[in-house]
Symmetry: D2
Subunit: 509 residues, 4 copies
């Protein structure tokens, strides 16, 4: 869910640090399910992305910056290299401090650096990357470097780059091509600068959204064939890979890290259990106790939302289309209803389906005064917001991310983040969750790069369970958690290797 096109918006608290970044997902929304909405080229239509979320976005040193395009600047880092393109190389020191703080909160990658010191499992790897450029990504990139890889990097989103961090990476020698506020042309130019350099034949791709992959696939087919492996993090990118694969055009093994167990649980269940409360509180200051809430969808996201709200004293109803998930909702103590049955009485409506038009204009018309409507699913289609853009309804922005939509009779509904993802727009993603993702990416790169000839064909793979377990084990020390080891006798009894994997592939956790 978090793996799609994200954009950061720094919220207005504007402390010294920019830790409180928030993700928006507008870009995700125009290019996801690309085959369904007639997307035919790689070109991106920036006009489609709602821009008001960015109005308040500000990096803490940006305001003093000039308006010259980075592409027009001549910059060198302290070692004399100019193989990069960032906003302002002089901001490197600020960025370095952010990276150092992130390092403290990403012990798994730091452990990976330590364990791999001798062996350099990525020696010889030439990685092109296209991700958000944040302090957490910087820790990942520097870890890849420490493991022996050479890297070149671009941003996967035109808004999300933290310029200071990009500067710090450039200063320490990484060829980074990214800045906050790229134009569409800049976006592709940056990607191309990562890929197309004399004497550089990348052999690994780390992608978030699939744009880098498709650029190489389309523009440099010969280079593409020499790639040893692709690691893709986002729902969208994975979807595009499966399309390529189905079409028989994927000539490189790819790894879908989006669906690894650990990443899924953290991105969805654990993260949303906390962010639903946070997102609602920051936007509305409401009290949860006694409120009637309907949650549409009882997948991992819905399960997290329901558990949190129930624990806070809300009365929660659930809607589902899948009878198995529906039965789970029942056994967990939630009334399973159709939305129509409760729409008049609920105080809050939350969508978590991944579906479209789950909340229709008809539902919106029937909600009671002051009903709060928001979306925790993975696109902005779940609530039919477009249907509210009609003359008889008045929109009133009462706060950042909070609109009152007012009916002629005075009834107001409170729409959050204009129907976009509440958890990305109005809450934050804990570094711990980003650490899970980054570690998974690093291990996927190691796995693909070191796999013996033939282990991976020209197909899309899930992360091997043993690697998934390894990601988990690297995060246990954070909780001072002590794993039990099998004795030889026990391992034999269970028919397991003492070091895992411990479960069959169909195990559901």
């Amino acid at each position: 869910m978090l793996g799609n096109k994200k954009k950061y918006i720094v919220n207005g608290n504007s402390g010294i640090r920019a830790q409180q970044i928030q993700f928006a997902d507008q870009k995700q929304e125009f290019n996801k399910r690309p085959t369904k909405i007639g997307r035919r080229s790689l070109s991106r239509s920036i006009s489609q992305s709602s821009t008001d979320s960015y109005s308040s976005a500000a990096s803490y040193t940006d305001s003093s910056d000039d308006e010259t395009s980075p592409r027009d600047k001549q910059q060198k880092n302290s070692k004399g290299s100019s193989d990069f393109c960032v906003k302002n190389i002089k901001q490197a020191e600020f960025g370095r401090r952010e990276i150092e703080i992130a390092e403290q909160e990403m012990p798994a990658l730091m452990a990976l650096r330590k364990r791999a010191q001798g062996e350099k499992p990525l020696a010889g790897a030439k990685i092109v990357g296209c991700t958000h450029i944040t302090a957490q990504t910087a820790v990942l990139m520097e870890t890849l470097g420490a493991l022996g890889a050479q890297c070149r990097w671009a941003a996967c989103n035109i808004y999300s780059t933290l310029n200071e961090v990009a500067a710090a990476l450039a200063e320490s020698g990484f060829p980074v091509f990214a800045w906050k506020g790229e134009s569409e042309d800049d976006f592709w130019w940056c990607i191309d600068r990562c890929v197309n350099v004399e004497g550089w034949q990348p052999n690994m791709i780390l992608d978030d959204g699939g744009d880098l992959t498709h650029w190489i696939y389309k523009k440099y087919p010969n280079m593409f064939k020499k790639i040893k492996g692709i690691v893709e993090e986002s729902v969208t990118g994975v979807h595009r890979l499966y399309q390529l694969s189905k079409a028989g055009k994927l000539c490189v093994p790819a790894m879908n890290v989006n669906d690894s167990v650990t990443k899924q649980k953290f991105d969805n269940l654990y993260c949303c259990r906390e962010s639903i409360l946070d997102g609602l509180k920051r936007t509305t200051d409401m009290m949860f106790g006694g409120k009637q809430v309907v949650v549409c969808g009882y997948g991992e996201v819905g399960k997290g939302c329901c558990a949190a709200l129930k624990a806070m004293g809300s009365i929660v109803y659930v809607t589902e289309i899948d009878p198995i998930c529906a039965l789970q909702a029942c056994m967990d103590g939630f009334r399973l209803v159709k939305l129509n049955e409760v729409i008049r009485q609920v105080d809050i409506v939350i969508t978590c389906t991944g579906n479209k038009n789950v909340v229709t204009r008809e539902h919106l018309d029937r909600m009671k005064n002051s009903c709060i409507v928001c979306n925790m699913g993975h696109s902005n289609t779940e609530i039919d917001v477009a249907s509210l853009r009609t003359p008889e309804l008045t929109w009133e922005r009462v706060r950042s991310q909070v609109d009152h939509v007012i009916w002629p009779d005075g009834k107001r509904i409170v729409l959050l983040a204009e129907g976009r993802l509440l958890n990305l727009s109005c809450s934050t993603v804990p570094t711990f969750v980003l650490s899970i993702t980054a570690t998974t990416q690093a291990l996927a790169l190691i796995e693909l790069y070191n796999a013996p000839e033939g282990r991976y064909k020209q197909d899309v793979y899930l992360l091997p369970k043993k690697m998934d377990e390894y990601v988990a084990s690297l995060h246990l020390p954070t909780f001072d958690a002590h794993l039990t080891e099998l004795t030889d006798e026990q391992a034999k009894y269970l028919g397991l290797n003492k070091n895992g994997p411990f479960k069959p592939n169909y195990y559901r956790y």
Copy 2:
């Protein structure tokens, strides 16, 4: 977990009805993982099954019965048929009443009867079955009959047959061969009477434990080849099927219904969440609030136990070998420890691992006075009970299923069910859970019987997701739960059929 060899023990409350049946699993324990303990033949060693659990077992009309073996009796039902062998055909009326009550609590099967009235999806099916003979099974058998099947049935356990129910089935025309207290010879004789009748070529097998399957496989290889499908419910039976398959000897498609989503969740997570409290309370009358508990293993069973005890105010520690499950325990709020770290301080030790010697004599030596030790996993090997059978320790039976083991210094530990499954020995299985299982079995039979040529090869299959979803949907009315249906537009958007299946196979629920 519940699918293995079960034996009923009617507890001492001995009301008029025998609804409060409890399952024990001794027999399961000697013949599971057969390849590991050198089991070479189909013969079963009754001497290995602990017998004291049965001492209190009594059917409510048994006491007045004579001691003549059913095999030596001449009995006819009211229609003149004698194609059955039960304890006493005159008990039919009592059994019928039990069946009628069970029908009320198994609405899914009743719905299946209604929906299939016209089409008779099992017309022509000739099913041999080998399961526990209980009121719930009777509802299943009569449902199969209503769907068009002919059935012949034996018991999968020598102790668990409810004689009245068997009589009722015989009276209404089912060839049933089963009674409570069969000898080993009786056991195989009954199975053979189901299989080997002139003019009868069964085409479907419904098995629980694999004994029927292996009997036909060994004794009637030609008959075996003509079978269209095998449905197997138990862990043990599934294991044996996979062995056959690996060895290339499985010439019939088989369906593993043990691992269907719905059945697994109910047998393990939901059932154990309730039965851990029930089992502990009935045996020890302890108070849960404030107690320190260690739960070994955080799979579905462990998750259920932990959630229940936490909710009741216990302080729960978890041990795990699998880092992913370990991380789940952390995120759910449990300290992850090694057993040694907390063994001196806890009030209760619960094993849920499926492993052996998880609690060793060394652990037992270090427990504090009055510590309660019990097993919720799926065999009796988790606690090293054998190590307690030494001369310096005194055993004192303080109640049915409760032993005090006393150390020379006076320390006592409270061992429940001698280390066998607490939930089967000291609690009950709700009819709702049995309904899930029975419905799953019925649908698996329908699926295999009606599958077009070639859909299923000579292999072991999981229940198709759509069937799994159907089982769930049949149980939703019990909760007055209202499922939402996809609109055409939504189904298209999601790329789904409106009737399911709704999730990819790897979905984890």
Copy 3:
């Protein structure tokens, strides 16, 4: 709630030990709220107590006993004393073992013995007691003895005496007058034998129900005036004391230990949180997950029931008459409804009000098939069971404590314990809860006996908060709980004594 007239019924599990005692409350029901039902004398109408609860009651050695009345027997203990009257002095050894086991589970009283070894705070006290005679009471009596008191004891209930325990007490020198199955005449004879002995002027009364107090008050008014204090545990007895006090006839200070904080929380909130699940499970083997439940009343008992059922996955509705409790229910996440609004849809109805006719025949008529109805409040009036005793309804006893009431159209409701207290009839009271009560009683005796002249007037008092806190502190070691001590500076800042009391009297906990 538990403090009223209790009767034990040993359940049918009938292990060697009788630990699994269960309390019934029939007697409570005929003599509580005495002023309302025109009770004018001390005579008790045994005919009014429903007797079927006792049918299964059996002490483990009783069966071999003769039928001679204990009053007609000549018995001596090993020291030659015959100042007692019990069933069979030879059972003393069995009783002693029970007492020893109870001692292990009542560490607070054992600690009291140890701490008071030197000082003997009850030296000179002459206590007459009238309580249930159980192993737990025996631990209390022997503690009182160890603290310096002389005691004489009778049973407060004609059914609840454990004969072996009474024998053990007699053997060790306590003048005990009690046996299981006393007649009404026996009952008063026993009480009189405790009170009226030459050379014995009791100075303290420990009562449970008020019968002993009223006997002395009526029959021995001069003796009554010389009493230094009365300690009363039950709701009924406390009610009678307040009546006396209002009438200006209470010439002795009395302590109401029923309403101490610690006792109330354990008797109601903590105990019911567990016993509602236990009571429902033992009687019906139902599954809680997904069930719709309405709980009438949101006092401590209701709060406990609601919390437990919610945690097990039930959907819980609450009814209330008090708007403050109603608001608490809302904030805790329960829909507050009138019973009529949900009566057609719920699976379980639980009363916890202390009120009468909360569930009426009209409600019962509207319940759905298989609805379970039970009472956790403090009398048998909450469900209008009498209204079900009409010709058109059929009663069918399906199990001990479980009746099906069947309507002409075949609808059944499942009535538990005939509307009497579920937790006393169908569950057990943990020794830990009894320990809280016994410790409170002991401390109340010490307080009243040692109070300086004039501290207590001729009135009914609550246990001083400091004593209440002391009871709590004596039970903390059970949980290995470590209390923090105030520094001198902190105590001064808060204006508190370092040893308590720590809260104002109106504090609500």
Copy 4:
């Protein structure tokens, strides 16, 4: 807890509305427990109040305001009155809108207006008030007006006034004397202008903190004697009233509304259950799952914090000095420890004691790197923050309300709100909670004003239980909660009035 001197800080989100106000409590901190810190006069030492919380404070129209003191301005409202002193009467329209929105969220007061339309229970009342001037207070004031009262009002805090709201009140005719950023001299001048007007003899006081009461008591003793009643909301003010009463100088009945049941539960348990999560999330973006937390104090605030964190998957330890609360913590599933035992291992330390120096420098020295320390109790003394102001430690402000304190070895602890109240500094108070308080105040005024001669003496009283219940009942419609009414028969059985009060005074809820 919230009733003390509060100051608003508008957070940086700075939407159009100022609903997201946050309270700080610096002023509270210097003048509470006045007798203990040698406070001898009414003068307030502004220098003691930490000022950095206000740095970001900004009203949405303030920036354009001139700097002339309101005392020097000549202003008239549209009706020509100049009996008020506010920042800018022209802001009235903005304020009116805020008030209208608040009205929607305070249905209890609106209901009160409606119900009292005919009777005017405050006809003739002349109320001087001194509270925070916010939209919610405005709804209260206008309600008092609608009930017949005349009001004059000042602010109880020099920072918390919302100028627009003050303007709106002035415009509609209320003599209001208050603005944001008063000097100390302004503060007393405003109070005096409320009190000392020709022809005005107030007969009721509504106070928050006791400053108004003491001003009248000291300066206008004759006026004081003619007051019919005082209603005081804050801990501090109540404390001062009890001091006066003890000293025999309280010649007016006063009502302590701080300790009413409903207000206490909402201010503490329910509010803190939500604000602990909100406060931690907004300041640190941390993840709660798996974190080890120690909560010092298990009163209402501690209970709320513990419940919320446990529900979010944290592992919670509790410290307590009171054995009864300690036992409650045990039964609720928390390990009861001394702070020293867990201080090295916990990720978060939260104080909720009301005590001082609960977290000492020694504790702080032993915490692990990145440990978060915060205070939810009712003063800023719980954490010994002063001990951290030593040369060897470096303070680094990383965000508003967040400091890193860095040890020489690089260890950082994360101190929130400099040890002041987290819930007031870093979270918000829901309007629903303020509604409870305002309704309680209104009812207390009605009660005191209408009480028959002699019902209230010259003492401090708690709100009558019936009023407390009425406050609760007025808030039930918010939850669509339906209260059950007693039948006549039931009321008689219980010995209750059908309209309450329903519980004895010592009832603990």
